[in-house]
């Protein structure tokens, strides 16, 4: 009987996935052909964007709203994971001497690369998501080599860091109102500073959030 239910569930899942695949295929086919005007519009407005890298200009200025929602999705994913299960205590590990010294060497190097990626986002490939992912990767690396980072999500300062990217984004967007402009429009002379402001906090948030996702679960209340 349970076998029958198991098969039924699998069949249902297969139908759902197949339906989604058909829907996706249909959406892609019905998309309008790529319009070269869009790239031209971006190129024309680059001087107003505050950065010289078109991808960053689109992500954080022209289509900032999409990126804001992406940050919110990341936070929701973490909340979802927390609501599923408590964290499982990792068994304490004594790092081997080689791993220990290797991580001590790598940590400052990776931090430096995180800073570089964040700074490079303004004029070259890079930016908050890549830098944040690298920061999270550093956490994963330290965790796997036996370090136990004091990630206690019941503490409010950690939760504040997790929300900081979203809050910084909203503040930068609301800055438009202060200057009598629309929500999400940056004054030209402040655009560069605002984008750096958002990206710095977003890097921190993305890094901590992704690393906490890796720990799979919420911290048990003390």
């Amino acid at each position: 009987m349970t076998r029958f239910i198991w098969h039924a569930v699998r069949l249902l899942a297969a139908f759902l996935v197949a339906g989604m695949a058909v829907g996706l295929a249909f959406t892609i086919v019905s998309l309008p052909p790529a319009s070269p005007e869009l790239a031209l519009t971006v190129a024309d407005n680059m001087t107003k964007s505050g950065v010289s890298h078109p991808v960053t200009a689109v992500l954080l200025n022209f289509r900032g709203y999409d990126t804001l929602l992406e940050m919110a999705v990341l936070l929701l994913a973490l909340v979802g994971t927390w609501s599923l299960a408590p964290i499982q205590e990792m068994p304490p590990v004594t790092p081997v001497a080689v791993l220990d010294s290797l991580t001590r060497l790598l940590t400052p190097l990776i931090m430096l690369t995180v800073g570089y990626l964040l700074w490079a986002g303004a004029h070259a490939p890079g930016g908050a998501f890549q830098a944040g992912a690298l920061l999270a990767a550093l956490g994963v690396l330290l965790n796997l080599t036996g370090w136990r980072l004091p990630i206690d999500a019941t503490q409010c300062y950690l939760r504040a860091i997790m929300a900081a990217g979203l809050i910084a984004f909203l503040l930068a967007a609301a800055n438009g109102w202060v200057h009598g402009m629309h929500f999400f429009s940056y004054p030209h002379d402040q655009a560069h500073m605002l984008i750096q402001f958002i990206e710095t906090f977003a890097t921190l948030s993305i890094g901590i959030t992704l690393f906490t996702l890796f720990l799979l679960g919420r911290t048990a209340p003390h």
């Binding site: 690298l134 990767a137 994963v140 890796f214 720990l215």
Partner: protein, 105 residues
């Protein structure tokens, strides 16, 4: 110049085939661990595709998030599944052990 275009074309075709292969094996393999490793390999190959398409930003994100962190997440979920399976197996064996001690009575 023509040999260069032929070479890049061959590289692109090889890349596409490898992508399909790793995706197929990751989806239809029965071994979860192998599927995760293939998924990570798939992500790295996809990053190469993004570079071929002149999208280094997406390639960076693909390597860091798609292959690296999602791979690590999947592996830690896999380790947790294995652990819970082990616990279940241990529970069952301890129960059957109790049964065995009971049978002589």
């Amino acid at each position: 110049m023509e040999t260069l275009t032929a070479l890049t074309l061959a590289f692109d075709v090889l890349l596409a085939l490898l992508l399909l292969l790793t995706a197929g094996f990751a989806l239809f393999g029965r071994n979860l661990f192998r599927a995760i490793v293939l998924y990570i390999a798939f992500g790295l190959l996809l990053a190469l595709v993004w570079i071929r398409l002149d999208a280094p930003d997406i390639a960076l994100a693909e390597i860091a998030i798609g292959a690296g962190l999602t791979g690590a997440l999947l592996l830690s979920a896999w380790a947790r599944l294995e652990r819970s399976d082990d616990n279940q197996a241990a529970d069952e064996s301890s129960q059957s052990g109790q049964d065995q001690t009971r049978t002589p009575h």
